[in-house]
Symmetry: C3
Subunit: 377 residues, 3 copies
Amino acid sequence: MARGLGRRWRLFVLPAILVPLTLALRLAGVADLAVFAAAGVAVIPLAHLMGIATEELGKRAGPGIGGLLNATLGNATELIIAIVALSRAATLAATGDPADARSADGLVELVKASITGSIIGNILLVLGLSMLVGGLRYKTQKFSVRAAELQVTLLVLAIVALVMPELFQISYEGAGGVPPGLPNVSLGISVILLVGYVLGLVFSLHTHKDVFNPVTQEQDKPLWSRNFALGVLFASTALVGLVAEVLVGTVVGVTPALGVLRPELFMGVIVIAIIGNAAEHGAAIMMAWKNKMDLSVGIATISSVQIALFVTPVLVLASLALGTPLTLAFEVFELVAIILSVAILAVLAKDGETNWYEGVLLLLVYAIIGVGFFFHP
Amino acid sequence: MARGLGRRWRLFVLPAILVPLTLALRLAGVADLAVFAAAGVAVIPLAHLMGIATEELGKRAGPGIGGLLNATLGNATELIIAIVALSRAATLAATGDPADARSADGLVELVKASITGSIIGNILLVLGLSMLVGGLRYKTQKFSVRAAELQVTLLVLAIVALVMPELFQISYEGAGGVPPGLPNVSLGISVILLVGYVLGLVFSLHTHKDVFNPVTQEQDKPLWSRNFALGVLFASTALVGLVAEVLVGTVVGVTPALGVLRPELFMGVIVIAIIGNAAEHGAAIMMAWKNKMDLSVGIATISSVQIALFVTPVLVLASLALGTPLTLAFEVFELVAIILSVAILAVLAKDGETNWYEGVLLLLVYAIIGVGFFFHP
Amino acid sequence: MARGLGRRWRLFVLPAILVPLTLALRLAGVADLAVFAAAGVAVIPLAHLMGIATEELGKRAGPGIGGLLNATLGNATELIIAIVALSRAATLAATGDPADARSADGLVELVKASITGSIIGNILLVLGLSMLVGGLRYKTQKFSVRAAELQVTLLVLAIVALVMPELFQISYEGAGGVPPGLPNVSLGISVILLVGYVLGLVFSLHTHKDVFNPVTQEQDKPLWSRNFALGVLFASTALVGLVAEVLVGTVVGVTPALGVLRPELFMGVIVIAIIGNAAEHGAAIMMAWKNKMDLSVGIATISSVQIALFVTPVLVLASLALGTPLTLAFEVFELVAIILSVAILAVLAKDGETNWYEGVLLLLVYAIIGVGFFFHP
């Protein structure tokens, strides 16, 4: 217990070093790339801390509310980074300066790309590494087909939701600006997705909870008091917001240095998405190594679904409030990458077993998509 | 028995009221919208009557011929409405008046949209409502995976058949008119689809009938004489034709009043498709409520397959005879909606179980597609 | 044994007649169509001979190396024909004559089309005929779902690899020439595919070989000495190269005579693909007739995977050495045909059973795609 608590305190050491360091570098005016790197690294232990605090609160609240907390706060880091980026885009767009308007468009594109990157990153990179790492230790590992197929179905729903606005975009190509009807369609579909997400929580946490949590796991004892957990949650959320502010402020300066053709796309899909999902990466791979492949698959697929059915529509609604237009019409490249990722997941998830080569296949698909985004014209 | 017969007689009451009412409203020259609504409502009990007469004939003919009758007459309502619309389009196109030519094009587009709407409506709306209604009463309901997967495979065949002409259309975009080769491709593919449909009947009704009808259900006793059933079938078919004539005659006047951007598309996909499939809707939902999910899934999926592999190619061939060009190249929007519907069906049909949330998911996909068609530019 | 050897000697009779005949016709200067037909027929028994020699070598080398030999030499015929065509294209392109440049482009297009045709031909034609022929004799036939699903997954990887370059091509449309980045993307993805192919061999022949070859089949005794088998392999490979030279030399003269709109596409997808895969056709159908559906499905699907993950990237790398640009950006028509073929295979492979109607469905999809390629604008 004392050791457990001791370990817990270590959680605070890294943020206590990295957050001030990031701010100091920013104020000292060093090169954007260094500040960006520091901020990116600082986000990771903060996201981990938010996850622990949510877990502690969930232990006190019981499995139902605990599940709800995880479902809404599980991807809070991505949500905060994206909202900070959208609000900066709104500020930049309001200046009237054409260079700022281009930066604003770049930030909106970056947000969409980080959504894409989170969805495909969880399916391909997180799950691929988990299967590979677990598969190097165990010949085959098992997971619940039923739970995985529910997530695959929800990802197909997400694809339907992204394809429709894309068709609006494509049929309007050539003419500049936003196609008529697209904002309405984005708004309508976002509301439908949120309805689907909320009813999905009712389904998996209430009416059919026995199907998805067959064994009532002996509840771990909470290590933190309720007020302490709440305090850590609020403090870490605020610090994520602060570091995200620095991260987003430097991203505009960093992107041209990359030398890729479409830096916003590559940064969002690969870099920001990996930063935002680092906590999931660590947890899922650890579970695979411990032969708990069910949890690995759950973390990776549920995280993708949360981004698609919860974070994305919330961002569309938030963008309306912020005055920055964020529609559900992504780049064709992004949509195709999502469709291909879900297709390979659907094929692999059917048999309830994994091995090292299935992990390799997911990573190869990630590599192919990465090559595509790197050279994207 | 007497009560059964008594119930049967009630079948004739609604048509006996609604058909004369529709004709009276038409002759009285009231607003198109009112006549259209009356005709739409009148079709529903007539379609039900055709279904009962087909069933009674089937009982006397034995399961093989009975299955054949259902397979050819099961979607007769849609077929009649579509042929009436195509023949009116041919008449309008022949006048040489540009306004009439536009109306003719609109009717052909309406026919295609009603095909799309029937296919996706059966999968998403009929099956979605059935799963939801059944799922509110029973926690999980079961159906035959084997039968459902045959229908999914046939729907994939239908998608292959629709994608090829679409590619002709797309690669010819920009230049006006019909791409060269498209009529030949449509004709060739229609013949291939009919071959597939007929061999599918040989397969499911003859060589492998035990697989799809494992228990020889105790055959219900016929309630009607053979001649009476034939008489009802012919009379109701003729009346459907008459009411369809009124329906199609008013649709041109109704569409501009809707205020949507592409009224033919929305009318066909949503309104006409619901009218034409109302009988399937009622039957499938009733079966789900009675926990016969196997029959619900069967009605919905087989109806979609019939539209795709039988009604559609027959309409292509009929349009050649009528002189109205109906090709298999649909709107991209329509084709994508069909592909997405089949994709979500394929994912849901794998486990042979349904619950309320799977119904919700199908309905949400229907809602997203409906939003798309409503605002379609 | 003597009879077995006797039969084996018959293998040499057909090549001994057909190869000299082809060369004689070519030297006599008869019409290209006759020479093309003779060369096409002569390839078939040579490919069979290469297969037997590979098998004999494999028997001496043990199952691991035997599997490796089959995996690399199994589609050597297609590889040789394609390399001969690419090298002739390089020679033609170097002349600087515009007519020769057009012929060179036509040959590169022919190579791509023969890749497409081999992939879809193995899935649809070979497997379709096998299921139909086997299904006419046996009501249902069984195969290993696990092995089939691995091949389906690898085909999905191949689709991912072909879709990405396609998006480059499409987004660059209008502007002539090769889109910037496309050669790099093709090269990068080809290397990734080869890594996937090699690791797949490690997986199925080494770490998980018991899963895919559960029973250690009693190894057949080799009938040929090692040196004789090597000699036959080298001689037949050289003769295939010689005949391929004639085949490719006449194809340019044959294509305009076909009367189709895009002769290279039709020739490659249908004709060259059937010639190159004739050995697989015969073997797979024979196995189905003998109720060894597992082997039929294996031959057809593994052959498709070999073309996609081994032959195709090797050709991309070879084209760099030859100086002819062969990218992974195929015709949209070709890519869509591959996607549809894999989709119907995925749906049919799920239940581990086949019947005559599933064979018919695959053949109907092949027919629909064939109609599409015949009239392709």
